[in-house]
Symmetry: C2
Subunit: 249 residues, 2 copies
């Protein structure tokens, strides 16, 4: 039975896509069968895996136009690509009863033969992110060690609480991961302390440093483990993956 994990934070640019792609790739390298779902109309996860003009995309699956299918990107790693059409999804489905369950319904056929489904979300808490949370067992929040990256956290938690109450009682926080973290910067340490004081051991001990290879990798169309396997980015994302696995979700 697949474990489904959403990577969410309405704050932009905190590393949702980088974490989604890196986590998916790391799990696949460890032999798990992984499906990465790109639920952001920006298509950054799709771009990061070098997929262009895919035949199948998550929009046509959600709308029930086609049966669920996905693209094999590398051994054990599959992608359900995004589409620009996703931008219109919220308005189109405004009157659809149970519109929050559409992704959960769509992914069901994959759950028998996939080990992990990772969902990359867009920088908002709209219907697509609600769909991701409704379909998920867990969620992971990447944060930048900056004030603006945590000021919206209470809104995020309020939305998650509503989803848990009405749509998905089993939804749990897997953890919060600090990205572009440098423990020598006071602001970074202070922000980590604020998170620790609110979320305790939900803050992953693994932190992701700033590493230019992570910003370069998307233009190569490869995850960090294929683009620069010896880089700091690859090493630390592998540690994060192992910490996630040790939670025995």
């Amino acid at each position: 039975m697949a474990k489904i994990i959403s990577i969410i934070n309405q704050k932009g640019g905190v590393g949702k896509t980088t974490t989604s792609v890196s986590l998916s790739s790391a799990l696949s390298k460890k032999g798990y069968k992984v499906l990465l779902v790109d639920l952001d109309a920006q298509q950054n996860a799709t771009t990061s895996l070098g997929v262009i003009e895919p035949g199948i995309n998550v929009y046509s699956v959600l709308k029930g136009q086609v049966k669920l299918d996905f693209i094999e990107v590398s051994e054990n790693l599959y992608l359900l690509p995004s589409s620009l059409d996703l931008a219109a999804f919220e308005l189109e489905m405004a009157l659809e009863p149970g519109k929050e369950y559409l992704l959960k319904e769509s992914l069901l056929p994959a759950t028998s033969h996939i080990d992990y489904i990772i969902i990359d979300c867009s920088p908002n808490l709209g219907l697509l992110t609600i769909n991701a949370l409704t379909a998920s067992d867990y969620y992971v929040c990447p944060v930048l060690p900056h004030h603006l990256s945590i000021s919206g956290f209470s809104t995020l938690i309020q939305v998650v609480d509503k989803v848990r109450k009405r749509l998905n009682p089993g939804l749990e926080l897997a953890g919060i991961v600090m990205t572009q973290f440098n423990r020598h910067k006071v602001l970074h340490r202070d922000t980590a302390e604020v998170i620790k004081s609110h979320f305790g051991n939900k803050l992953f001990t693994s932190t992701i440093p700033e590493n230019i290879a992570l910003a370069e990798a998307p233009s190569s169309g490869k995850p960090i483990f294929d683009y620069a396997p010896q880089s700091n980015g690859a090493i630390e994302y592998m540690k994060l993956t192992e910490e996630l696995l040790n939670l025995n979700l």
Copy 2:
């Protein structure tokens, strides 16, 4: 007659809010009367100026519930704060004829006694961003020197072209500004070259370096010119402001 400038990029975390707040503050220091409009439900510009629980907000103005008013933040600098309710605006106004003109209409009373109106937009190209573009004379795009930050540019330009064709024929690109730019990094130089090849002299020569003071300032509730006036961030944002003024918009 006020000049209205939108700060837009659907890519998250590229420095829209930091640029909106810094530009507004710099212009006000130069003696111009500036209104900053926070059009993002995340309320990051409002937070960055230390405004809490404002009486007035842009949502109630757009909905026609209250007359336009704003908060004086410092000499010559005014803010029309955001509200969480903005997140529902697109759905609520779906059937409102001419919904793209609502902001333009709302800001009209300010244009006679304000020199510059700066609009901070959210990381998407939805109805609120369309409202900003429809109300604006110019737009400015902050970009990070990363591949993912420019891969969505063609979508942005397509949307701007539609706004210019149907809603606001006078809309012009004021310029593109590189943020967190470090000319010693190959990726950064390469990305700047890509932008220059597509946009020529629309790329501002001023670039904004990575500067921790810019990430710290929001927690102080002050713009960079009040929080750390001697910092690299303050110096470079002032240069950008002067370059913008020299365009004689």
